[in-house]
C-alpha cells in the first residue's frame, strides 16, 4: 500500500524542495542551493513544529493546487501575501492548518513577494542527497529526482496523520527595512572610485531576469578599470559580479561555484533573502558595511531566527 503523500494537483512552474542547503561540496563544483529566503522557510517550519531548516516546498509567485493522500496533514505557508485556502476557506496568514484527505489546498499569488514556502508537519520522506534535500535543478541533484515538481507528482510524507495539538500562529515578524548591506570586494579594485560610488549611491531595479541562479539588476552601468576577465575563482551566493556589459548580476543560491567576472561586492547573508524576495520593478539600494558590522547584523539576524522558533505558540482559544 502506498504511504502518506502530498500530491501536486496543479503546481506552479518553479516548485522545488528546498531546505537549509548543502555544505562541504563546493570544492567539487556543487552549489549549496537551499531556500532563497531562509527566514520564510524557518517561519513555515516553526508553524508546523519542524526544525527551522527542514525541507519544504518552495514556489515562485504563486503555489498552485495541492491535495494529501493521507488521513490528514498539518501544513503552513510562509511568505507574505500568498493567499491560502482549503476547500475555499481562507487560512489566516502565519497560521498552521489541517489539510484532510480529499480536500484541496490552493495557494494564490502574492503582490508583495517572490518566494513562498509550504511546510508539512514531520517533513517529507525523501532521502537527502549530498547531505541535503535541496533541489539543484540544473544538475538534477536533490529534491524529487532533481526536478521541479510537476502535476501529478507524489511527495511521500513522514506522518500519516496530523497530531491533535492545537494549531500554531505567530505575529508578523519584525521585518528589516532600509538599504541592502554589502561588503566591498573581493575584486572592488577592478573598478574606479566613480563606479564604487555609483553602486552605493544609485537605485538599482530588480528585473524579470530573476531565478534561483542569479538576479540581473537594472541601473547605472559599472565600468571596469582593469578589464573584465579575471582568472576564475570561487564565488558565493550574494556576490555581485560585473560582466563586460557593466550590468551587475547578483548571484543566488543555485549559482555555480566558480566564476570569471570581477565581483565588486557581496551582499551579506542576512540581507540576501530580503533581496531575493524583491519583485521585478522594485528598487534596491546598497550600503557598504565592514565585515565586523556585517557580523553584528548577522548576530541580530540569528537572534530573530531563534525568536521565530520561540514565539510560535498555540493559537489563542478565541481564534480556534
Amino acid at each position: 500500500m502506498q504511504g502518506p503523500a502530498l500530491r501536486a494537483i496543479a503546481p506552479t512552474p518553479h516548485v522545488t524542495l528546498q531546505d537549509g542547503g548543502r555544505r562541504g561540496w563546493r570544492r567539487f563544483g556543487l552549489a549549496g542551493a537551499g531556500a532563497m529566503d531562509r527566514m520564510a522557510l524557518a517561519l513555515a517550519n516553526s508553524l508546523v513544529g519542524n526544525r527551522a531548516s527542514e525541507a519544504a516546498l518552495e514556489f515562485a509567485y504563486a503555489g498552485g493546487e495541492w491535495a494529501v493522500d493521507a488521513a490528514s496533514c498539518r501544513i503552513a505557508v510562509a511568505g507574505a501575501g500568498f493567499v491560502t485556502t482549503i476547500d475555499g476557506v481562507a487560512v489566516p496568514p502565519l497560521t498552521s492548518a489541517i489539510l484532510r484527505g480529499g480536500q484541496r489546498l490552493r495557494i494564490g499569488g502574492s503582490p508583495q513577494r517572490v518566494w513562498g514556502y509550504l511546510a508539512v508537519a514531520g517533513g517529507f520522506a525523501i532521502p537527502p542527497e549530498f547531505g541535503s534535500r535541496s533541489t539543484h535543478v540544473r544538475t538534477r541533484i536533490g529534491g524529487l529526482r532533481g526536478r521541479t515538481i510537476q502535476a501529478g507528482a507524489i511527495l511521500p510524507l513522514v506522518a500519516y496523520r496530523a497530531n491533535d495539538e492545537p494549531e500554531r500562529a505567530m505575529s508578523m515578524p519584525h521585518e528589516e527595512e532600509g538599504p541592502c548591506r554589502i561588503v566591498l570586494g573581493p575584486q572592488d579594485d577592478f573598478f574606479g572610485a566613480d563606479s564604487i560610488s555609483l553602486l552605493l549611491n544609485s537605485e538599482y531595479q530588480i528585473t524579470w531576469q530573476q531565478d534561483r541562479m542569479a538576479y540581473r539588476l537594472d541601473g547605472p552601468n559599472l565600468r571596469h578599470c582593469r578589464g573584465y576577465n579575471i582568472i576564475s575563482d570561487g564565488v558565493m551566493p550574494g556576490c555581485i559580479q560585473v560582466p563586460g556589459t557593466g550590468t551587475p548580476i547578483l548571484l543566488m543560491r543555485d549559482a555555480g561555484t566558480v566564476g570569471g567576472y570581477p565581483k565588486i561586492a557581496t551582499v551579506i547573508e542576512p540581507d540576501l533573502g530580503r533581496v531575493a524576495q524583491m519583485r521585478p520593478g522594485s528598487v534596491v539600494q546598497f550600503q557598504a558595511v565592514s565585515v565586523a558590522e556585517a557580523h553584528a547584523i548577522r548576530r541580530r539576524y540569528l537572534a530573530r531566527l531563534q525568536l521565530i522558533a520561540d514565539e510560535t505558540g498555540p493559537l489563542p482559544s478565541a481564534l480556534t
Binding site: 555544505r23 562541504g24 561540496w25 563546493r26 570544492r27 567539487f28 563544483g29 556543487l30 549530498f130 540544473r138 544538475t139 538534477r140 541533484i141 554589502i182 561588503v183 570586494g185 573581493p186 575584486q187 582568472i231 576564475s232 575563482d233 570561487g234 564565488v235 558565493m236 550574494g238 556576490c239 555555480g256 561555484t257 566558480v258 565581483k263 557581496t266 551582499v267 551579506i268 547573508e269 542576512p270 565585515v291 565586523a292 556585517a294 557580523h295 547584523i297 548577522r298 548576530r299 540569528l302
Partner: protein, 232 residues
C-alpha cells in the same frame, strides 16, 4: 579579501601555473590539518583559495591572523602534489569531425594530436563550473586553440575535450565550446557512489590511447585501477 560576511578569498599571484596552483593546494591542506575553528569548507581554484567560515565560531580578524600564521610557517608545495591518474581515451571517437577541425586549426595530423595529447602531464587546477568537472592545466602549446564561437549543446559524460589553454573531462551532460578529442570510459561524477567525484584539485592526469571497442570493456572497471600512485 572578504567575500561577504561568511567567506574570504586568499589570492596568490595573478597567473595560471603549476607553482601557484601548488601554493593554493598547500594552503588548503595546511588548513585541513590545522585546528582553526569555524571553517565550513574551502574552494581551491587556479590562484585563489575561497574559505567559507562560520562567523559565530571565528571572527574575521582572528581567522586572518591564524591564516597568516599558517602561511608564515611555510607552505609545503611538495606534499601537495596530489594523486596520479592514467585516463584511457578512445581518440577521435565518436566526434571525428571535431578531430579534423582540431587538425585543421593546429596544422597537425590526427596521429600527432594523439601523440602530443597523450604524452602531456595534465594537472587538475579546479573542479567546478558543473559538479565534478576537472579543469586541466598543462595542455601543450601546439594544441592551444580558441573555443568555438557558440557552445555545442548536450555533450555526454566522459568526453575528453580541449579549448583555449585547457582541457576538461565532461562529468554530466552539458554544453561546451571546447573541441572533443575523444571519449573515456571513466566518469568524473558517479551518482550514488561513496566518492561520487573522481578528481580533486592537485591530481595529475596522463591520457592513454585505447580503441573504441575497449570503452565498453573498461566501463565496469573500478576507477582505482586507473590510479598510478596511492592516495597521497
Amino acid at each position: 579579501m572578504p567575500v561577504g560576511d561568511c567567506a574570504l578569498s586568499v589570492e596568490f599571484d595573478n597567473v595560471i601555473d603549476r607553482q601557484v596552483s601548488a601554493l593554493v593546494r598547500a594552503l588548503d591542506l595546511a588548513i585541513a590539518a590545522s585546528d582553526i575553528p569555524g571553517i565550513v569548507e574551502t574552494v581551491p581554484s587556479f590562484r585563489a583559495l575561497l574559505i567559507v567560515y562560520e562567523p559565530e565560531d571565528i571572527g574575521f580578524d582572528s581567522l586572518i591572523e591564524q591564516l597568516l600564521r599558517l602561511i608564515s610557517l611555510g607552505l609545503n608545495t611538495r606534499v601537495s602534489s596530489g594523486r596520479s591518474w592514467i585516463v584511457p581515451v578512445a581518440y577521435g571517437f565518436p566526434d571525428e569531425e571535431d578531430f579534423r577541425e582540431i587538425a585543421a586549426v593546429t596544422k597537425l595530423t590526427t596521429d600527432e594530436i594523439v601523440a602530443i595529447h597523450s604524452s602531456a602531464v595534465f594537472q587538475v587546477y579546479v573542479v567546478g563550473f558543473v559538479p565534478g568537472l576537472p579543469v586541466l592545466g598543462g595542455l601543450p602549446d601546439a594544441l592551444h586553440l580558441s573555443r568555438r564561437p557558440a557552445p555545442r549543446p548536450d555533450l555526454p559524460a566522459g568526453r575528453v575535450m580541449i579549448g583555449g589553454m585547457q582541457g576538461i573531462i565532461v562529468p554530466m551532460p552539458m554544453p561546451s565550446g571546447y573541441y572533443s578529442v575523444g571519449q573515456t570510459p571513466l566518469r568524473p561524477y558517479q551518482r550514488g557512489a561513496a566518492n561520487p567525484f573522481l578528481f580533486r584539485p592537485g591530481d595529475r592526469i596522463r591520457f592513454q590511447p585505447i580503441l573504441p571497442a575497449e570503452l565498453d570493456v573498461l566501463a565496469g572497471t573500478s576507477s582505482d585501477r586507473f590510479l598510478t600512485t596511492g592516495d597521497e
